[in-house]
């Protein structure tokens, strides 16, 4: 099964692109540039918001554990997906949200469980695409540590350079 992901180049869905990079060993995803973001699953099912695309990709590659290892981790992943979409993306005044994120990361390497999940991908993507984040990063040491840790790894490096420069 080959999936087609079309992305809006003026506002690339970084979280969904990261998810696509992670699952590409398990399922074929081809990325095309266009005007609107959409994942074409079948003629009757398409997903056009970044969280749905990420959820679907995590579910077609369950062995990667991107949606968490059990029901409680799934619920935490859901929490962070909404947090990234509603509290970070396009929201001015990041301070309150960053403070919450900083507390959550104080004793953690990854946001949920002990491995990478959609929570890390979506929050990293929201910060990477946010113009306020670089200025605020010094004040939130745990978020900064976690952000740098992820940023140094493939595919975060490649997605970061490829799409963020284009946006600017």
């Amino acid at each position: 099964m080959a999936l087609n992901l079309t992305i809006n180049t003026s506002n690339p869905p970084l979280g969904a692109l990261l998810a696509a990079e992670h699952v590409k060993g398990s399922v074929q995803v081809s990325v095309k540039e266009g005007n609107d973001t959409q994942l074409h699953v079948s003629d009757s099912i398409q997903f056009s918001d970044a969280n749905s695309i990420s959820r679907y990709l995590a579910r077609v590659a369950p062995a990667l554990g991107l949606y968490g290892a059990n029901m409680m981790e799934q619920t935490e992943v859901d929490h962070w997906l909404e947090f990234s979409a509603r509290r970070l993306c396009g929201q001015p005044g990041l301070t309150v949200a960053l403070d919450e994120l900083n507390k959550a990361l104080s004793l953690r390497t990854f946001l949920v469980g002990h491995a990478l999940t959609l929570a890390d991908l979506s929050i990293w993507a929201a910060l990477q695409g946010h113009e306020e984040w670089p200025r605020q990063s010094e004040s939130f040491s745990h978020v900064n540590r976690w952000f740098s840790f992820l940023s140094s790894q493939v595919p975060f490096t490649s997605i970061g350079t490829k799409y963020t420069s284009k946006k600017a």
Partner: protein
């Protein structure tokens, strides 16, 4: 005609499998909700949980709010006669009316971060009742309708709501329930949000028919009561 199996939620009743081993203390789901936005979806899921499990339900009022209407204080039913014996119950459901900007759930706090948002708490509670569809596309469709219900039906402009009603109508022209042949969380969330937004009377034909079908299941009596 629909078979009865498509309208009842069938799933595992083994909480140990779903939530990990029981360590002796009551598994208590604590929800902080703002009385200005009663979480109708969670009330529906609570009554479904009570049909499946022995649930110890309690309502409290936090000092941050005053004048909570009586119907909010009794929304989880009468106080349980055996409430002193917590070990007799499988689940605790503690609803606290509190001045919170966003609904919040605390459960298993040593392992889990507090969960924000009615949509996410609803996903959690529903999984205690029935598994999501095993097909990744259908499971994601359920989640996508839940997001649409909470973020477009409740919060957006009249124009966007009308667009959602049209999308609901066309999905309900293809199948009896929102996501294929099975009643799911998508139906619960969209039903509650359509009713809460007062859109029922202006809804197109298929949506009207589906609202009736939902009501016939008997799961939504508390919502209808609430909105009167």
């Amino acid at each position: 005609p629909k078979s009865s199996s498509s309208t009842t939620l069938t799933g595992t009743t083994d909480l140990d499998t779903l939530l990990g081993k029981d360590l002796g203390a009551l598994r208590d789901i604590v929800i902080n909700a703002n009385p200005a936005q009663p979480p109708l979806t969670l009330l529906v899921l609570h009554s479904l949980l009570c049909q499946r499990y022995r649930v110890l339900s309690t309502v409290h009022v936090h000092s941050s709010v005053t004048n909570v209407p009586p119907q909010l204080l009794s929304c989880l039913g009468p106080r349980h006669a055996d409430s002193y014996a917590r070990q007799m119950f499988q689940l605790g459901f503690t609803l606290i009316w509190k001045d919170v900007p966003k609904l919040q759930m605390k459960f298993s706090v040593q392992n889990m971060c507090p969960i924000e948002g009615e949509a996410n708490v609803a996903r959690f509670l529903f999984k205690l009742l029935a598994p999501y569809p095993s097909d990744p596309a259908l499971a994601t469709l359920v989640d996508s309708w839940v997001d649409t219900a909470f973020f477009q039906l409740v919060e957006c402009s009249a124009k966007e709501r009308a667009a959602v009603l049209r999308a609901l109508n066309s999905a309900l022209g293809r199948s009896p329930w929102l996501v294929g042949p099975e009643f799911s969380l998508a139906d619960i969330a969209c039903y509650c949000c359509v009713m809460q937004s007062g859109l029922a009377s202006s809804a197109p034909t298929n949506v009207q028919r589906w609202l009736k079908a939902c009501e016939n299941l008997g799961h939504f009596a508390c919502v209808v009561q609430f909105l009167q």
